[in-house]
């Protein structure tokens, strides 16, 4: 069986987080009643003219800079012509030969080698308006097609990668990192469910047959609505292409590029349409829109708004807060809101490592259980920081702190009131000492064992101490017992 390499390139459409559409003032909010967010401009009514949205340009430049792209001093708008029921003008305003961003890259974790990164090249990222949405109602035997044009004119950034990925796992890492970066910079919400992030994958195989390189025909896979689906579709497609090649011997030279859809329930790709001849979109510069000049000063201004990329944040968590690479990764990968949350907890508690472990365990578990996000999390970062600060200073032990944590999730209360409500009081050291002395008096055997070298024998007494006074800090009890025994 010949060796083969899987070659994957991705085209990702992300909806930019603008207040309004690309060429008019209509809202881009998701889920509005059909055709309620439209105007003559986005409907392409006769006589209406597009006017460029500056915010979209700014966001595209921001994304491009973060993706290490070259931002040319001038970009322009082109028309891409095709007839389709959800394309009101009969053309889409897009960018052809002068995209707003070109030649970038994105570093991703190498799934094959932990701790290493892979650099995925980017060909370009260009702006374009979205089309509408057709809904075909064939369920009742009728052939009704309804068209919702709310989405028409929504600003999209299409990010086209080089065919640099070699496995579905790399594709998934690429998408994860891209989404993290774009949400981090507030360029896009990247909600796949709402269509604000859409992925088309180009895939084929490079086989090594008796020392000869053979490439299978390129397939474009569409309709994948989760990263998991992308991963599975690519795995399926690689196997299918291999089997197809074995069966037919078809290579890229004797078969055209095809488009296949992904059926998530059957976990299969299926043929959609043959691209017998490449579609002729008859691109030409849109005469209704002037070319866009992007002066150096503007690009620098946008660059200044990019505080930190996720990659930079990971580095900083390691150097500034002393977290491990793994811990930094987990926190940063949760997104910008979680990063901000962590930093407040770390600062207020003065204990970044404890903050990191609490967030990774207690906070993430709660978010998962309650199916909520860090933005909606009931304990504000400052409050958790305060709680962890008390653990750090020894005022609270971990177990008691967890009780307080649980209480704070259910009650909007400050740390002090929570402690009071739970009957947690600070115990002074004199009190601990007399308690320990009493326990030692009652358990001479323990004293003997410790003196005989078995320090762990005090463990038995710590439990008893907590029964007598639940507020006693176990660490403090341990230290006091040993001090009393060893004189």
């Amino acid at each position: 069986m010949p060796q083969y390499e899987t070659i994957i390139g991705l085209e990702v459409h992300v909806q930019l987080k603008t207040d309004s559409k690309l060429f008019c003032g209509c809202s881009t909010q998701f889920g509005a009643p059909p055709n309620s967010q439209v105007c003559p401009v986005c409907l392409g009514m006769p006589g209406a003219l597009p006017v460029m949205n500056r915010q979209a340009i700014t966001l595209a430049v921001k994304a491009g800079l973060a993706l290490n792209c070259n931002i040319p001093p001038m970009t322009k708008w082109d028309r891409k012509q095709y007839f389709y029921p959800d394309l009101p003008k009969g053309y889409q305003i897009s960018q052809y030969d002068l995209p707003i961003c070109a030649d970038g890259f994105l570093d991703i974790d190498d799934p094959a080698s932990e701790g290493d990164t892979r650099r995925i090249g980017l060909i370009r990222a260009h702006l374009e308006e979205d089309a509408g949405k057709s809904q075909h109602d064939e369920a009742s035997g009728r052939q009704d097609s309804r068209i919702d044009l709310n989405r028409c004119g929504t600003p999209l950034l299409e990010i086209v990668s080089q065919p640099d990925m070699r496995s579905s796992a790399e594709a998934k890492n690429y998408l994860t990192e891209l989404k993290l970066l774009l949400t981090h910079l507030e360029v896009s919400d990247c909600e796949m469910q709402e269509g604000s992030l859409r992925v088309d994958a180009n895939i084929n195989l490079h086989l090594d047959v008796d020392g000869k390189k053979i490439a299978t025909p390129i397939v474009e896979v569409k309709n994948m609505n989760s990263f998991r689906a992308v991963e599975r579709a690519l795995d399926y497609e690689a196997e299918r292409q291999y089997a197809h090649w074995e069966e037919t011997g078809q290579t890229i030279k004797d078969a055209p590029k095809t488009t296949r859809g992904w059926d998530d329930s059957r976990e299969q790709t299926f043929a959609q349409r043959e691209k017998e001849e490449s579609a002729d979109y008859r691109y030409f510069p849109d005469p209704d829109l002037l070319p866009v000049r992007l002066p150096r000063s503007f690009i620098d201004q946008v660059r200044d708004t990019i505080q930190e990329t996720p990659a930079q944040a990971r580095d900083r968590l390691q150097t500034q807060h002393g977290l491990s690479a793994y811990d930094a990764d987990v926190i940063v990968n949760q997104g910008a809101a979680m990063l901000g949350y962590f930093e407040t907890v770390a600062d207020v508690s003065g204990d970044p490592k404890r903050a990191s472990s609490w967030i990774q365990q207690d906070v993430l578990r709660t978010l998962k259980e309650q199916e909520t996000s860090i933005e909606e999390f009931p304990i504000p970062a400052k409050r958790l920081g305060e709680l962890l600060g008390r653990v750090r200073s020894g005022d609270l032990d971990n177990n008691r702190a967890r009780d307080v944590f649980a209480y704070l999730i259910d009650n909007d209360s400050d740390v002090d009131s929570a402690c009071t409500a739970l009957g947690i009081e600070a115990v002074d050291s004199g009190e601990i000492e007399s308690l320990c002395q009493k326990l030692l008096d009652d358990n001479p055997q323990v004293v003997q064992d410790v003196r005989g070298g078995k320090q762990q024998a005090v463990g038995r007494l710590i439990g008893q101490a907590k029964k007598v006074n639940p507020n006693a800090n176990p660490q403090q009890v341990r230290e006091t017992l040993l001090k009393l025994i060893n004189g």
Binding site: M45, P46, G47, P85
Partner: protein
Amino acid sequence: MLDSVSAILNALASGDASARQITERSLDAIAQTDPKINAVTHVAAEAALATADDVDRRRAAGQPLGALAGVPIAIKDLICTTDMPTTCASRMLRDFVPPYDATVIRKLRDADAVLIGKTNMDEFAMGASNETSAYGPTRNPWNHDRIPGGSSGGSAATVAAGQVPASLGSDTGGSIRQPASHCGITGLKPTYGRVSRYGLVAFASSLDQIGPMAWSAEDVALLLETIAGYEPRDSTSLDTPVPEYSKAIQSADLRGIKIGVLRDGLEQDGLDESVRKSVTEAMQVFIDLGAEIVDVQLPHSQYWVPTYYVIAPCEASSNLSRYDGAHYGHRSDADIDPADGPLLSMYRHSRQEGFGSEVKRRIMIGTYALSTGYYDAYYNKALKVRRLIRGDYDAAFQQADLLLGPTAPTSAFALGDKLDDPIQMYLCDLYTVGANLAGIPAISIPAGLDDSGLPIGVQLQAPALEESRLLFAAAAFQSQTQFHQLRPGKP
């Protein structure tokens, strides 16, 4: 004389006439003359009278009124109006009533003009004779067997027939100036971007410009002053202040002005002797007014028409793709062709039935020229030549303040004469398309009658945004000549 905008404004101001009387006179004229000339596609009698009454009421109450208060104006039927259909004289848009007013319409309403109706035109502004209209041809008021010119033939004829004192047309390759010339009136194509295109149904976006048509330069100036100006909803609109054109025209002294004449243009084949004579005589009038005549060259003028007939159809093929029967325009109920399936079938039949043959021809030329493999040979090359043409004008305006020449090669030809010969029809734009390709302003003014009594116009061109200079020179010419005072007799 109540066919002049300024005369009407004076009569209204002095109380010699009411806006209602003026409007009724206009409606009567339409009722009388339009069955013969077919210049108007929609008459908004009620709305017009209501506006007129409102103007009268406000004048009586001493309230402030707009600059064109009570003046009836007709609008070419590709400019969007909320209270009248906007059909582009196409079966495709037969029932289209836009939900918004074009910027120029908003400005006319703000100026309290009386919008009397919509005028006939070549379908989607494609034509030089007004014969491609789905409403049938408009006839020239000077001679009903003749075409009025196109594509703003209805807008020219409605003025020439005395239906209204002024109208708006649009000019993509000469569509204001050529019919103005054939109908003996004054028509101005402003600088590209001087007047907002918002609400103008696009034919070729980079060439289209709305402009005024009336008997005299003075009236044209009044209209331009009202409709010009920056519009944030049009990205190609120019953000520069609008001069007081009507003030700029008051002097008749052209001393120190250099007028360039294109000798090559005057020796061109196909130029009618009577037109050549009119241009020569116009030169003398300008010399008498103190201007100096200089020879200039526009070396690439032979490429104007071919360049235009690549760029305009390319843009048109794109602009007209929205008329697909699904979103806008006529929807066919023809049977589904099994080979095409329901969707493609519907597109094909709708466009086949909705568009006339000239529109189809240009869509096909444009689609071909933009397609892979031909783009560089046609569209891209045309853009390069367009830059050369602009360069020619820049050089010419180093030597001359204005350029003078013919507007059209002949006077109005007979109906049907060129309808079956598209190339002959396209050559009607020989002298006018240069200004559109360069984006500069140009005006056609009446300059004589030929042997059969048909009007002849001459054209003046000026550098971008120099409409004042054009209007000033045209007004000076009209202060010394009577051509703009001539009216059609009994055709």
